[in-house]
C-alpha cells in the first residue's frame, strides 16, 4: 500500500481521533493514500468512522494524532477538498447563489451577483446541473441541496471531492445521472472519495474499495481483486451471513372491511403551486401500501398531510371510516398512529433530552404502582432499550448516541406496541445492511399482526421487498394502485417516478 508519493493526492498516516464524551475511537490508526484521479469507495456500517474520517479530510475536524498530507497542494490547508454532505448543511434564509457564494474564495469583499451567477450557470450548463439559483435554502429538497453543494465545489474547482452517501435521497434516475457525472469528473482528473453502503454502486463506480469497521481500516483493494462477498464480510465481520435481500414474506389478501386510512380527493397547493392533485387512497389492516416517489415531487407533502402538519385545501381524510375534519399532529397521534418521519433528528428525536425521555413520548401514561414518574420512566425505558438493542443508557442524552442508535430508538418506540396504523417515511435512510434487514423484518412483522402500513419511500428496492400494493406519486398525482408482483418491477416504477421528474 505504499504508492510513490508523487502519484497520490492524499496521504493519510496513522490518523486517530477519539470522542471526548465516551472515549471511543472513531478513527483508529488509519493509514492509506489515494491516487490522483481515482474513485475510492469507502464502505462500512453505521458508526464505522466513515464520516469522521471524511470530516478530518475536509478540515472540519482535527485528528488527535497522525498526519494528513496533500502532496499536490503546497498549502496543506484542505483547500482542494470539497465535500458533499449526507446531512446537508445550508443556510435556509439564503438563496442558492448566496449559499454557493459563501464558500467562494474571497478576493474582494463585495459580492458580484451577476458575475457569480453567470459563472455558476456556465458550470450548470457544462455539467447539466439544473437548479433555480434564486430559490431559498429552506425551499430546496435534499437532491437540490446536493446539487447546490456540488455546484459550489465545481465553482471552486475542487480537485478532491468527497461524497457522503449521495444517492441515499435520490431517485433511481437521479442516482444514475449522478454516477455518470462522477465518472466524468474522474475523467477530468479529479479524485473522488465516495462513501456508500451499496456494494453494487461501489462496484459500478469505484476503482478501489476501502472498508472501515469500528474505526479501523479493514481492507483497501482494487475492485477487480476482491469479491463482493469479501467486501461485505469485511464490513460486517466474519460469521455474519447476509440474509436474502428480498424476503418472500407471505402476502395476505386484505379484508374488504373499512379501510384504516382513507384519503378522498385531496388537493393541496402551497404558495400558488399545486403540490397534491386530487389524491385518493385506501389503506387496509394487514397490508403494506408502498408509495414510491421523489420527496420533492409530493412525497414529503403527502407525509405532512397525513400527519396533520399541513391542511389540504379540499378533500377528506378518514381514519377507520371516521372523518377527521381538522387533522393536527396532536389528533393524529390521539388515534394511536405510529409514525417514523423522514426527518429523524427534528421530528423523530429530541437530541438534548435523555434516551428515556425520547422513548416515553408515545406512552406518557405509565402504569406501575411504585415510585415516581421518573423511576417508572426509567424502568420503562430500560425495557425498550433492551428490546430495541440500543446501545445507551436511559439517562444518556440522545445527542451522544450514534445515528444508528437514534434510528433504533425511534423504531422501538413506534413499533413495540403493535400499532394499528404505521406511517413510515424513508425507513432505511442511513441504515447499513443488517439494520435495514432487521427493519424490514419488523415492518413485515407489523403487517402480520394486522397493522396497516403506509410506506413512503424513494427506494424502489424497498418498495418491491415490502409492499403488498404499490402506487407511484409523481408531480403531485398518484398512479393507480396495483398489487405488487408482475405489474411492478424496478423498471416500471423507475420509469413512472422519473418520467415525470422534471427537475
Amino acid at each position: 500500500m505504499t504508492e510513490p508519493v508523487s502519484y497520490s493526492s492524499i496521504v493519510l498516516t496513522e490518523i486517530t481521533r477519539s470522542f471526548r464524551k465516551n472515549g471511543i475511537k472513531a478513527c483508529d490508526n488509519i493509514s492509506f493514500s489515494v491516487k490522483n484521479g481515482e474513485i475510492l469507495a469507502i464502505m462500512g456500517e453505521n458508526g464505522a468512522g466513515k464520516s469522521t474520517l471524511m470530516h478530518i479530510l475536509s478540515g472540519f475536524m482535527k485528528a488527535d494524532r497522525g498526519s494528513l498530507v496533500f502532496p499536490a497542494d503546497p498549502d496543506q490547508n484542505h483547500p482542494s477538498v470539497g465535500m458533499i454532505h449526507q446531512k446537508p448543511i445550508l443556510a435556509g434564509n439564503l438563496n442558492v447563489w448566496e449559499n454557493i457564494a459563501l464558500g467562494h474564495p474571497q478576493k474582494s469583499l463585495v459580492v458580484k451577483p451577476a458575475e457569480l451567477s453567470s459563472s455558476i450557470r456556465r458550470i450548470q450548463e457544462n455539467y447539466g446541473l439544473a437548479l433555480d439559483l434564486s430559490m431559498k435554502g429552506w425551499e430546496l429538497t435534499a437532491a437540490q441541496i446536493q446539487r447546490a453543494e456540488l455546484l459550489e465545489c465545481l465553482l471552486l474547482d475542487r480537485k478532491i471531492l468527497i461524497f457522503d452517501e449521495p444517492t441515499a435521497s435520490l431517485s433511481e434516475q437521479q442516482a444514475e445521472e449522478l454516477l455518470l457525472l462522477l465518472k466524468r469528473l474522474k475523467g477530468e482528473g479529479r479524485t473522488i472519495l465516495y462513501i456508500t453502503h451499496k456494494i453494487k454502486e461501489a462496484y459500478h463506480l469505484a476503482d478501489r474499495i476501502a472498508v472501515l469497521r469500528k474505526g479501523k481500516l479493514k481492507m483497501i483493494s482494487p475492485v477487480g481483486e476482491i469479491s463482493p462477498e469479501a467486501v461485505s464480510e469485511a464490513m460486517i465481520g466474519k460469521g455474519a451471513e447476509i440474509p436474502d435481500m428480498i424476503r418472500k414474506a407471505e402476502r395476505k389478501t386484505f379484508s374488504e372491511a373499512v379501510p384504516v386510512l382513507e384519503l378522498k380527493n385531496i388537493n393541496y397547493s402551497h404558495q400558488g403551486s399545486i403540490r397534491l392533485k386530487d389524491l385518493s387512497l385506501q389503506l387496509h389492516a394487514g397490508e403494506i401500501l408502498g408509495i414510491a416517489g421523489i420527496r420533492e415531487n409530493g412525497l414529503a407533502c403527502l407525509e405532512d398531510l397525513i400527519t396533520g402538519a399541513v391542511r389540504p385545501q379540499s378533500g377528506k381524510i378518514l381514519l377507520k371510516g371516521k372523518m377527521i375534519p381538522y387533522l393536527t399532529p396532536f389528533r393524529f397521534r390521539k388515534h394511536g398512529i405510529s409514525y417514523i418521519p423522514a426527518d429523524r433528528l427534528k421530528r423523530g428525536a429530541s437530541l438534548d433530552s435523555t434516551l428515556g425521555e425520547n422513548l416515553i413520548l408515545l406512552k406518557r401514561k405509565l402504569e406501575g404502582n411504585a415510585g415516581s414518574y421518573k423511576t417508572k420512566l426509567i424502568q420503562w425505558a430500560k425495557k425498550l432499550i433492551s428490546k430495541g438493542e440500543i446501545e445507551g443508557q436511559a439517562e444518556q442524552k440522545v445527542r451522544t448516541l450514534s445515528g444508528g442508535n437514534i434510528q433504533k430508538m425511534i423504531l422501538v418506540r413506534e413499533m413495540h406496541e403493535a400499532p394499528a396504523l404505521l406511517i413510515i417515511s424513508e425507513p432505511s435512510w442511513g441504515l447499513d445492511f443488517s439494520s435495514r434487514e432487521k427493519l424490514h423484518y419488523q415492518i413485515s412483522n407489523a403487517r402480520s399482526r394486522d397493522a396497516a402500513v403506509l410506506l413512503l419511500t424513494t427506494d424502489i428496492d424497498e418498495i418491491l421487498i415490502l409492499s403488498d400494493r404499490i402506487a407511484v406519486l409523481t408531480g403531485g398525482e398518484l398512479s393507480e394502485t396495483a398489487p405488487a408482483g408482475q405489474d411492478w418491477n424496478r423498471k416500471t416504477i423507475g420509469e413512472r417516478m422519473t418520467g415525470a421528474d422534471r427537475l
Binding site: 475536509s58 472540519f60 484542505h78 434564509n93 439564503l94 448566496e98 457564494a101
Partner: protein, 275 residues
C-alpha cells in the same frame, strides 16, 4: 411632522441596525441600552473638551466598541449567559459613566457643555438622520452584497454551517457584537449631541425598543425601518395627544407600547390568514 419623526427615529434605527447584526449572528443583545448610554456620555465628554461633531461621534463609536468588547469577552470567551452579561453591562455602564463624571466634573448628573454644537441639516433632516439613512443603505449592502454579510446572514443559529466553511462562529458573533456596539455608541452620540447635554438614563429604553423593532420587522431591513418609524410616530402622536385629548397624560404614555403590540398582533394574524 414627518421630518420630525424621521429625525427622532434616527437613533432608534441606528441602534436597531446594530442589533440586526447581533440578531443575525444569533446573539440576543440586550446590552444595547448600556452601549447607547456609554456612547451618549462619551460624545458629550469629548465635545466638552473641544471635540467637534465628527470627533465626538467617532469617540462615542469607540466607547460603544469597548463596551461591546467587554460584553463579548464575558459572553463568549468566558461563556457567560448572554442575558445576565447583558444585564450586567446595563447596570455597569451607567454607574461607570457616573463615576467617571464624578472624577472629571465633580458631578454625577447632567453634563452640559458650554455651547450647543450646531448640527447642520438639509430638507428638515439633520446630518445624523441622513447619516443613519445612508448607514441603513450601507447595512443593506453589507448584508446582501458582501461576503462577510452573507456569512453573517447564513450563520444565525446554524453553527455547523460556518464550521463546515472553516469559519469560527465565535468570531462571527464577536464581530457582530462589536459592530452593534459601535452603532449603538453612535446612536447614543446622536441623542446627546442633539440635546447638547448628557442626562443619566437618557437612552430611556431605546436599546429595548430597538430589539423589539428588529423582531417586529422580522429581521428584514425594510421591516425594521418601518417598525422604528411606526414606534416613533406612535410616540409623537402620544406627545401631541397630551395637549389635545382629555385623557390623563400618564395613561397616554402606555399607548406606543400597546399600539406596537397591536401592530405585531395584526401582522401575525394577517400572515396566518394568508397561509
Amino acid at each position: 411632522m414627518i421630518s420630525g419623526i424621521l429625525n427622532n427615529a434616527a437613533p432608534l434605527l441606528l441602534a436597531a441596525m446594530g442589533g440586526l447584526f447581533t440578531e443575525l449572528a444569533g446573539v440576543l443583545n440586550i446590552a444595547m441600552e448600556g452601549m447607547i448610554l456609554t456612547g451618549a456620555f462619551t460624545a458629550i465628554l469629548v465635545s466638552n473638551f473641544g471635540g467637534g461633531l465628527l470627533t465626538s461621534t467617532l469617540c462615542a463609536a469607540l466607547a460603544g466598541l469597548l463596551t461591546a468588547w467587554v460584553f463579548s469577552l464575558t459572553s463568549f470567551k468566558l461563556r457567560g449567559n448572554i442575558f445576565i452579561t447583558g444585564l450586567g453591562i446595563n447596570i455597569l455602564m451607567p454607574a461607570l459613566t457616573a463615576s467617571f463624571s464624578q472624577k472629571i466634573f465633580g458631578n454625577q448628573g447632567i453634563i452640559h457643555p458650554g455651547s450647543l454644537r450646531h448640527i447642520p441639516s438639509t430638507a428638515g433632516l439633520d446630518l445624523y438622520t441622513w447619516g443613519t439613512l445612508a448607514c441603513t443603505g450601507a447595512v443593506m449592502f453589507i448584508l446582501y452584497r458582501t461576503y462577510p454579510g452573507l456569512t453573517l446572514r447564513a450563520s444565525g443559529r446554524q453553527k455547523d454551517l460556518l464550521k463546515s466553511k472553516g469559519i469560527s462562529p465565535e468570531k462571527v458573533q464577536t464581530a457582530a457584537v462589536l459592530i452593534s456596539g459601535m452603532m449603538c455608541g453612535i446612536s447614543g452620540a446622536i441623542l446627546s449631541l442633539r440635546l447638547g447635554a448628557y442626562v443619566p438614563g437618557m437612552s430611556a429604553g431605546k436599546g429595548w425598543i430597538a430589539l423589539v423593532a428588529i423582531y417586529l420587522g422580522y429581521k428584514k431591513i425594510p421591516g425594521i425601518v418601518a417598525a422604528c418609524i411606526f414606534f416613533t410616530a406612535a410616540e409623537a402622536i402620544a406627545n401631541q395627544a397630551q395637549g389635545i385629548l382629555q385623557i390623563p397624560p400618564s395613561l397616554i404614555l402606555s399607548f406606543p407600547y400597546f399600539f406596537t403590540l397591536m401592530g405585531l398582533g395584526l401582522f401575525a394574524i394577517l400572515k396566518k390568514r394568508r397561509q
